[in-house]
Symmetry: C2
Subunit: 191 residues, 2 copies
DNA sequence: ATTAATGGAATGAACGTTCATTCTTTTTAT
DNA sequence: ATAAAAAGAATGAACGTTCATTCCATTAAT
């Protein structure tokens, strides 16, 4: 691992270009250019564009997960834990707009659908804290009796939508609004 | 204007291919093929692909608006009107998955961002019933005091997310679940 | 200490493919 | 017979990927 230099530059360039212009607005030649690297060099680090896209996704997912877990305590109430997660997600998206835009591009593409299908059909990961949280909320009867995926939509649908609006400049989220929107999501969720 | 035949076939083919495969999975040649039409013929009806994409969007938007207005009474309570709109949107998306998928593709693309920016900066349309509804809810103090775009995210973010999950097969929405999810959205919205 | 040899990393021109659009020919309608 | 409409082959631009070559750091030989 003594050569993160070029690989890192390639990943950074890909993130920026894809986040801003989408997968099809980020040709390999442009990524190479922005990374300060020859076009062929990318293929020394990534087998092809698909692999690059997927590896970048995994890196961002990991970064986000780390942020979410920071200060997360499984002992707190369901409500408190939800507010922690919601706040962390929203703050992360707002202060890392490139990451957020990339994740959105990914999720709204065939890559994302495949990824999601795999995830849902697979066993509950240790890292799948949402699922755990909602399952506990259900068994404690503090949140509405709905299928897990719907609870997820109810809780995070508005947050993602609001984060997008903030990044696109349609609204300006401050601390007060963040607290309010997350409280509103909880109102939708709680029994 | 006595030749809606071919134009219609082209639009239908474009809708289906773009909804299922995205803009980049729907080459003009393929659209022509599916429409049973020569590739060049498309250009007799649409100046270029962009125009085709935008005109199709406008048609779908119009269709949806018609559905929403059906049975909509401005005299009912804010809550009742919201439930009417939410139910109508959700039902429309579920029973017209191609339309829904197309609208999503559009919104999650540069086309959609431009469109949205125009809409928000423009004057309130007569047809902009959401805005009217939320403004009235605000002045009557029955819904939370948040910026309009955030109310929109809060109300429709979950519905769109849930419609997508239904269409992708991650959940199966029946009448009971539809009622419940819309009630939950209202819980998030109401003061 | 200097030079020669080696091998992996990097390069970017070139290739084959795909696509939107245009052009030419053929068909249809009047 | 003429003109409008339709068809699909042709065109050129853009893209992902490959590969022959160059560069550079390290090692071996003198």
């Amino acid at each position: 691992m003594a050569k993160p230099d070029k690989r890192d530059e390639i990943v950074r360039a890909a993130l920026e270009l894809i986040a801003e212009n989408g997968f099809h607005g980020a040709p390999m030649a442009m990524i190479a250019d922005k990374a300060g690297v020859g076009a062929g060099t990318i293929y020394r680090y990534f087998e092809n564009k698909d692999v690059l896209i997927n590896e970048l996704y995994r890196e961002l997912e990991q970064r986000l997960l780390t942020v979410l877990m920071d200060g997360y305590s499984p002992d707190k109430s369901v409500r408190e834990r939800f507010i922690h997660l919601g706040t962390a997600v929203l703050r992360y998206c707002i202060s890392n707009p490139l990451d957020f835009r990339y994740l959105e591009q990914f999720h709204n593409s065939p890559y994302g659908v495949v990824h999601r299908r795999d995830k849902i059909s697979g066993e509950a990961d240790d890292k799948d804290i949402y699922r755990k949280l909602f399952e506990e909320g259900l068994s404690r009867q503090v949140i509405k009796d709905l299928p897990l995926v719907m609870l997820f939509s109810l809780a995070f649908g508005p947050l993602i939508s609001v984060a997008r609006d903030h990044i696109l400049g349609f609204v300006s989220l401050d601390d007060d609004l963040i607290v309010k929107i997350i409280a509103a999501c909880w109102d939708g969720l709680k029994r």
